[in-house]
Amino acid sequence: MTEAEAALRNLSIPAGGPNGMSRRTFLQALGLGAGAMGAGAAIGSNVLERLEAFGVSSTTANDGILVLVMLDGGNDGLNTVIPYADANYRTLRPSIRYDAPGTGANAALDIGVAGFGLHPSLVQLRQRYAQGQVAIVNGVGYQPPDMSHFSWMGYWMNGWSTAPPNSYANGWVGRYLDTLAGAASDELLGVCVGQTVPLHMVGSVARAAGLPTSLSDAFGMDRSTTSDVRLFDTIAGYSTASTGLDQWGDSYARTMKGVLDLATRVKPAYAQPNDSNDDIVRQLTLVARLINAGLGTRVFHTHLGGFDTHADQRPQHADLMGAFDRGIAAFYATLQAQFQNNVTILTFSEFGRRPEENQAGTDHGTASVNFVIGTNVKGGMHGTPPGLAPAKLDRNRNLVSTVDFRTVYATMLRDWLQVDPLPILGGQYPSMDLIARAPNVDPPGTSVPPPRGATVHRARRTRVKTP
């Protein structure tokens, strides 16, 4: 793989990706082809207006919503779901290990599983685990490992079964969004909270919106005077024809049109303050508000960085686990009751960390754990924890993964988002038993959630063929 590819893989919209695609490709992808192109800007404008009509801006009651939490830097799975009773773990981690539950300050939290406990900062997550709403997937990774942050995050984001067919031109969530009606026109089908749109949120035609955690007096939001509207419309209008500046001029024009479209749509989610000290709390609070606003988003991306704990790991990792725990709690505190059974949260990280500590930190490793959180997941331990005995480790003394990460994706796609994973992942992966009930099916023994807010318009989405 070339450096150019490497440079494109992470946290960037690739060259030739949807924002960069030519107008011809864009129209062809929509089945409109070169004929529509030939008619020039006027037709192009109509095409874009027609596409707007596709943008069904709500989910149906039975749609699943997936919220991704990226733990950036390589989260230490061994100190997240802790094999405290394993003698090898205790030997390999003399200064950063956690002990059996109830044994003092550095004790793991009891989850009722022999030999395993949660990181002590995951207090609220443990309660949720006890309610059967947290699935822990052990041993998740990728073979062969290469231990570069950027290569491995690229693999996770791309999610294709083999060497990527298109030099990492798109990612697994983007290819899922491509299958939805309005994929090319409705940016809110996928939302990335933060400044960039990572590769996994980019499809062949779909492009996820980026949204900041707070907005006030933002450009395009106040359309109360005709003079302002005239200015906004002029700037949005650059996207209706080629700018004559090639890929990046056209991409910019489309992005600014996206901004001005979003300005009128996302306003309700920004009405209240969002000012926690924890960025991940702000991000997940915004996600819950966007879901509550009924904007039709199917996949959200959020990001918690700082997991590259080569040194001084214990306090840093504890802070991060605490922030994550508060983020999940804030999300559920904000999410309206009628959406609770529609949401599943999935965490991911590029790799775990080396079993043997380097004094007070850990170098890059391989397998790690994923959390799958929600009312409709099948709680408990899944997958197989990789062994820590010397003979079980690989030649670099790292864990040998037991679950291919695309198996987790396939499960989310097939059992939660209810699409065929094959064309999205490029290979057959079985489902793990992570989803207990389809979206919007109530857990047994719970009361029926209150009816949805009457103000939220809902229309049934029509699926279109994948272009």
Partner: protein, 479 residues
């Protein structure tokens, strides 16, 4: 080669610095237009009479916190980028060299360290100073300074956790990123090389006893003096030896079947070309050609830049349309267009735009083009223009911005087309597409038609709206 056209002169000045068409003539653009290319490039490369870079007073204020000190550095750096020029620098009142500031920005993204983890404004300034003072010299010297020179290397040693790297517990962070991101690129080494490099870097720590300054210190007793096999060469490697081998080593690396100096020169030359001209893959023939010349020139960065700026491809349409302005470049271009100083248009939301100086997102630095084009990042560019140009500029202290007399030289009244042409030219845009021009002229005509005053006065707010249109046009986004 032929004399530089105005378009090519403007392109060279934008890419080698932050643009040259602003301010009253004679400015850099008027000086460069019609000049022989090689003469123009020598001027750009010349560091004569460049201002020194003593940090600002707020940085040195012991009562300021770390974040405030770094923020002071940020504003100070913006002022250097805003006011720098190629021509007209004098010994008495020297100005920054635009190329030097541009390459400081490049090296900041290449040898990336973030205050977010370093947590020490002094270390961040020292590293920044090394980028500026060494960034046009020898690449190996720069790489050595960033990793091993006192009062230059501390930020990187802390950022990549070499501080606790000791022979009993080697830490792989610096070793890996040195090879993956700073010199050769990914997949050109093995995990065994990472492990060997980690041992080579043992003992290059921060002085335990120097609790005030936290300066670099080499602890011989913490260094692993044993033999290590690095890229096929077995020796008692140490940190500086590893850097030298990666930069100029000629023993063939079994992973790549080429010498490390070849791999590194290609990796860095490709990155510099991509930063200044347009992104290219490693397979582009330009890469090997630039790298071979660069090695011939002893990895002198100025020599590489001379090669870049004199290639025909650098003046191609691919190059002219090939890069979007990064947020830093975007803000600097607005400051230079308007004459506003940084404290008259403070970019509080650089992080939301995607590029906060001294806080790169990770050790790989910032990427290009599509990286800046999320709706959230673009939105904050628009917010910056709205907050600092469209609203409230007239409340700011002098120089008063964009009053029509100051801006266009006093012809009154103008037609909308004249006003639009004047606005783009004043903001350094030398090529405006017919589509953009028509759109902005139509907008201004409609504004005029809707005006209460039949005579349609060119009041400041119309100019501010017009400037907003220019700053948010596709043309202004191109670097």
């Amino acid at each position: 080669m032929a004399p530089l056209s105005a378009q090519d002169a403007a392109h060279l000045l934008r890419r080698s610095g932050f643009g040259g068409g602003w301010g009253a003539a004679p400015n850099d653009l008027t000086a460069f237009t019609g000049m022989e290319l090689t003469d123009a490039v020598e001027l750009v490369l010349s560091p004569a009479n460049v201002a020194a870079d003593p940090p600002p007073a707020e940085y040195a204020d012991p009562n300021k916190g770390d974040w405030e000190r770094v923020w002071a550095l940020t504003g100070w750096w913006f002022e250097r980028m805003r006011t720098g020029r190629v021509t007209g620098r004098t010994a008495g009142a020297p100005q920054a060299s635009p190329l030097q500031e541009k390459m400081t920005l490049f090296w900041h993204g290449h040898f990336a360290s973030s205050e977010d983890k370093v947590n020490n404004a002094t270390h961040m300034y020292d590293q920044h100073h090394a980028f500026r003072s060494l960034g046009l010299g020898n690449f190996q010297d720069l790489a050595l300074a960033i990793t091993t020179a006192p009062q230059a290397c501390e930020a990187m040693l802390r950022y990549l956790d070499n501080d606790p790297n000791e022979k009993e517990n080697p830490n792989e962070n610096l070793s890996r990123e040195l090879m993956e991101l700073f010199t050769m690129g990914v997949n050109n080494y093995t995990q065994d090389d990472v492990t060997a490099g980690a041992r080579a870097w043992t003992g290059y720590n921060i002085d335990d006893t120097d609790t005030g300054n936290h300066t670099f210190r080499y602890y011989p007793e913490r260094h692993d003096t044993g033999m290590k096999t690095l890229l096929g060469v077995t020796a008692a490697w140490d940190g500086p030896g590893m850097v030298r081998h990666l930069c100029t080593g000629t023993t063939v690396n079994p992973v790549t079947n080429e010498a490390p100096t070849v791999t590194t020169s290609k990796y860095v030359a490709r990155k510099i070309w991509s930063f200044l001209a347009y992104p290219i893959p490693s397979t582009d023939p330009l890469v090997a050609s630039l790298a071979a010349n660069w090695r011939t020139n002893g990895l002198n960065v100025t020599a590489l830049l001379r090669d870049v700026f004199t290639r025909p491809e650098f003046y191609s349409t691919t190059a002219k349309h090939g890069l979007l302005r990064s947020p830093v470049e975007f803000v600097v271009a607005i400051l230079r267009s308007t004459g506003l100083a940084i404290d008259q248009a403070i970019p509080w939301d650089l992080g939301e735009m995607g590029q906060q100086p001294f806080y790169p997102p990770n050790v790989a630095g910032w990427k290009q083009n599509g990286y800046w084009l999320s709706t959230s990042a673009a939105w904050y560019r628009a917010n910056y223009v709205q907050n600092n140009v469209r609203w409230g500029v007239n409340d700011r202290p002098a120089p008063k911005f964009l009053s029509w007399t100051g801006w266009v030289g006093g012809t009154y009244p103008m037609t909308p087309a004249q006003a639009v042409d004047s606005a783009f030219a004043t903001c350094g845009v030398t090529e405006v597409s017919a589509g953009t021009r028509t759109r902005v002229v139509d907008w201004l005509t409609a504004q005029r038609a809707a005006s209460n005053s039949p005579a349609f006065e060119w009041r400041d707010w119309q100019w501010l709206n017009l400037a907003t249109n220019v700053f948010l046009s596709p043309e202004f986004q191109l670097a």
